[in-house]
């Protein structure tokens, strides 16, 4: 037993162990873990059991992802993986270093939890160290962050973030009016949720939308990747936050929409202001025009008035200038 634990406790072998030895070790490990009494999680079973499981899940797709690290990497390297449906996962980490490959300790963690050493392969060729973790994801418990660690003086870390597709799209608040109806749309690019649900909230509590209320809410969607919530006979209380949840086999993701319900008086004020401005300007311009036309007529009347005045003053000048005055009158009248 001690020899076996010693074997398990020692750093992982560099070269792939010979098959019979490996099988022996793993059978022993299986018995040891079974003796412990902890019922293993489906992903953490020993290799033969896992091979069985792999055979059961062989109709699932295989997702392979890899991260490359060097000893100069100062920041941890992260890779985001979006997953909609259950699949077999193959996560590989490569570590290139000039140091002695034997002195590096390789571990895998899910979140903060250390994963069992016998579930991952370690390989070395030339300057590079490979480690591969293979498992199957079938429910939301297996989603999360998986990290590979290469420990020497510094710890090098590569993280795979496995999540369901996110719906985050920037939505501007939707403006509507009292008595009108509106359509709230949630869309997911390149993903097909199993189901959609809608919630409304006035504070922090999300309340599901009551679809059975007559004539108020209608939920439908033309394609599998979008959903539409039609709200009719809007009132001021219908304003607020709405949430659409996309349900996948492996989890849920949500999106937030904001609805604002205005009364019709709100745009009416700028409208009336513009109308007042138009009426004022038209009145000013037409009055100006009438004034200019009157001014054009007045100088003519003014000149005739002057002519009449001059004739009157000539008249009163004297009676002896009869003949020339007649002539002047005639020319003046014309």
């Amino acid at each position: 037993m001690r020899a076996l634990t010693g074997l398990l406790g020692s750093p992982a072998p560099r070269a792939p162990p010979s098959r019979p030895l490996l099988l022996l070790c793993l059978i022993a490990a299986a018995r040891w873990s079974l003796v412990d009494g902890d019922p293993p999680d489906s992903a953490f079973t020993s290799l033969p059991v896992r091979e069985e499981m792999m055979a059961k899940y062989s109709n699932l797709s295989l997702e392979s992802h890899s991260i490359s690290l060097t000893e100069q990497s100062s920041m941890p390297v992260e890779k985001n993986i979006t997953l909609e449906r259950p699949s077999n996962m193959e996560l590989t980490c490569h570590f290139t270093t000039s140091e002695d490959l034997n002195s590096i300790n390789v571990t895998w963690k899910k979140g903060d939890e250390l994963l069992e050493k016998n579930n991952y392969l370690i390989n070395a060729s030339g300057n590079t160290l490979y480690t591969q973790y293979t498992f199957t994801i079938i429910n939301s418990k297996q989603m999360g962050s998986y990290s590979c660690f290469f420990e020497e003086e510094k710890e090098q870390r590569g993280t795979f973030n496995i999540k369901v597709p996110e719906l985050h799209r920037k939505h501007k608040p939707l403006i509507t009016y009292v008595g009108d109806s509106t359509v709230l749309v949630c869309k997911c690019e390149n993903c097909f949720p199993v189901n959609w649900t809608w919630y409304s909230s006035n504070g922090s509590v999300q309340v599901p939308v009551d679809v059975h209320m007559n004539d108020k809410y209608v939920i439908n969607g033309t394609h599998a990747n979008e959903t539409r919530l039609k709200i009719m006979h809007l009132s001021e209380e219908d304003g607020g936050s709405y949430w659409c949840h996309a349900i996948f086999q492996l989890g849920e993701s949500e999106e937030h929409l904001e609805l604002v319900v205005l009364s019709f008086l709100v745009p009416l004020k700028p409208f009336l202001a513009i109308i007042a401005e138009v009426v004022l300007l038209v009145a000013i311009i037409l009055l100006c025009e009438m004034y200019t036309q009157k001014k054009k007529k007045h100088p003519e009347e003014g000149k005739e008035f002057e002519q009449i005045e001059q004739l009157k003053s000539d008249d009163s000048n004297g009676i002896e200038n009869n003949a020339p005055r007649h002539r002047k009158n005639e020319s003046g009248n014309q």
Binding site: I175, V183, P270, I274, V278, I285
Partner: protein, 486 residues
């Protein structure tokens, strides 16, 4: 009697109140052309609200454009018979009503009727009378005045597009339509600015329509309750229509009309297909939008600078030639377009095309005024814009069909290019024929009466040439002094 003479005819002021008319026309162009272009910003909202696809909502824009151009002659008839002020104010009220009713729409069909037909009709009543009015107030600086007035569509689109977007975000499309209806009511302000002006009548209309004019005066004097009212009314109507549309029989105008048909066919698809073409040759979305912005801005610059240029003394008599030069260059640009397959090549194309597009748009009213004179300008412009309607309507779908069947944009662009080049060649050819005829007749006049050759001031040749072509007063005056009678 002295009073009557003083109120009457003046020559175009070329300034003073004329600049207020230009400002009014500028605002009319913003409220009609720029608002029409900004309607397409509402399409995304209409698609979401009415759950229709793009093709159904795009009909609104086509209906507005088509009705505005088709009813342009109606606009000139109304403004000729009532008055320019009343016509434009009526148009403003109609267009505003269309927008306000559209903000209460419950289906896309309602929008076709209100936003499409009613608003288009309102715009039609405003557009051509306003442009004709500018022509009446300017003669020396006509092209510059038109340049400033027509630049309203480019500047208006530039300013209104973000404003409409903001209105939709703040008030949703219903509130935005309501406020836009209020904005369009400013057309009434423009209408109030259009003070009527009576000009010295052209020589041509005096001689040709003397008979008609006496009948028209009889019509005015006849009381409405006389037993011969019906007959009088019919002859009056016939006569006034005959007088108004007499320019339709002028060969110059017929040539211009045909060339406008081909030019309108050629120029519209570019604004629809430049972005898809740029995307197909590998340009990114933002760069394609940038190309359209360049087109718009250079269009405005072309409007104003080309207007100023053709007002210079050296180019003033060659406005016709400048017009056909601008149209021809645009056609050539089209022919080169299929060979330009990268952004550094498409940017100069946008600049060139945009500049000459703005240039010939400015010169359309100027060239029309040169051909028909200022009294019939309103009706002539109505007819010219009417001829724009059908090509605007059919040209983008035909180009789209060509793109779909041939799989590339080359055929569509080549067709448009040849259409515009044909239009400019037709104009040049007509001008050449006219010049040849005139020199021929002058030559014959010289040979038929040798005695008159002794008159060194050339007045005989002048009067013969004048009978031939009374519209080209200016150009004949420049030709004759150079004519050597020895």
């Amino acid at each position: 009697m002295a009073k009557v003479n003083r109120v009457g005819s003046t020559s175009p002021p070329d300034g003073g109140w004329g600049w207020m008319i230009v400002a009014g026309c500028f605002l009319v162009t913003i409220c009609t052309r720029a608002v029409t272009r900004c309607i397409s910003i509402f399409f995304v909202e209409f698609q979401t609200y009415f759950t229709q696809d793009y093709a159904q909502t795009a009909w609104i824009h086509s209906i507005v454009d088509c009705v505005t151009m088709l009813c342009a002659p109606l606009g000139s008839v109304v403004s000729n018979h009532l008055s320019c002020q009343v016509g434009i104010m009526l148009g403003g009220l109609l267009a505003s009503t269309g927008f306000i009713l559209g903000s209460f729409a419950t289906s896309l069909k309602h929008l076709y009727l209100t936003l499409g037909v009613l608003t288009g009709l309102g715009f039609a009543l405003c557009y051509s009378p306003a442009i004709a009015m500018v022509g009446k107030y300017f003669s020396r600086r006509k092209a510059l005045a038109y340049g400033i007035a027509m630049s309203g569509s480019g500047i208006g689109t530039f300013i209104l597009a973000p404003v409409v977007q903001l209105l939709i975000e703040q008030f949703s499309w219903r509130g935005a339509l309501l406020i836009l209806g209020g904005f369009v009511l400013n057309l009434c302000v423009c209408g109030a600015l259009m003070r009527p002006i009576t000009l010295k009548e052209d020589h041509s209309s005096q001689e040709q329509n003397r008979v008609c004019r006496t009948q028209k005066e009889d019509c005015k004097r006849a009381s409405p309750y006389s037993p011969l009212t019906k007959e009088w009314a019919q002859t009056c109507l016939c006569c006034s229509l005959q007088q108004e549309y007499s320019f339709l029989l002028m060969p110059d105008f017929v040539v211009l009309a045909i060339s406008v048909l081909f030019m309108a066919y050629g120029c519209s698809p570019l604004f629809v297909y430049l972005v898809p073409y740029a995307l197909s040759v590998g340009v990114s979305h933002q760069q394609a939008a940038f190309l359209m912005s360049i087109l718009g801005v250079i269009d405005i610059i072309g409007n104003i600078t080309f207007g100023w240029l053709t007002d210079r003394r050296c180019l003033k008599n060659y406005r016709y030639v400048c017009y056909l030069f601008a149209v021809g260059l645009d056609g050539l640009c089209y022919l080169c377009l299929p060979m330009l397959r990268s952004l550094p090549l498409l940017v100069p194309f946008s600049c060139t095309f945009g500049y000459f597009d703005g240039a010939y748009v400015t010169l359309i009213p100027v060239v029309t005024a040169e051909i028909v004179g200022t009294t019939s300008l309103s009706s002539a412009l109505g007819v010219v814009y009417f001829l724009h309607a059908v090509p605007y309507l059919v040209s983008p779908p035909i180009a789209g069909w060509l793109v779909d069947t041939t799989g590339s944009y080359t055929a569509a662009f080549l067709l448009c290019g040849f259409s515009m080049i044909f239009s400019s060649v037709l104009l040049g050819f007509a001008r050449l024929v006219k010049r040849m005829k005139r020199t021929q007749l002058q030559f014959l006049a010289k040979e038929s009466d040798p005695k008159l050759q002794l008159w060194t001031n050339g007045s005989v040749a002048y009067s013969v040439a004048r009978e031939l072509d009374q519209k080209d007063g200016d150009s004949v005056a420049t030709v004759v002094p150079g004519y050597n009678l020895t």
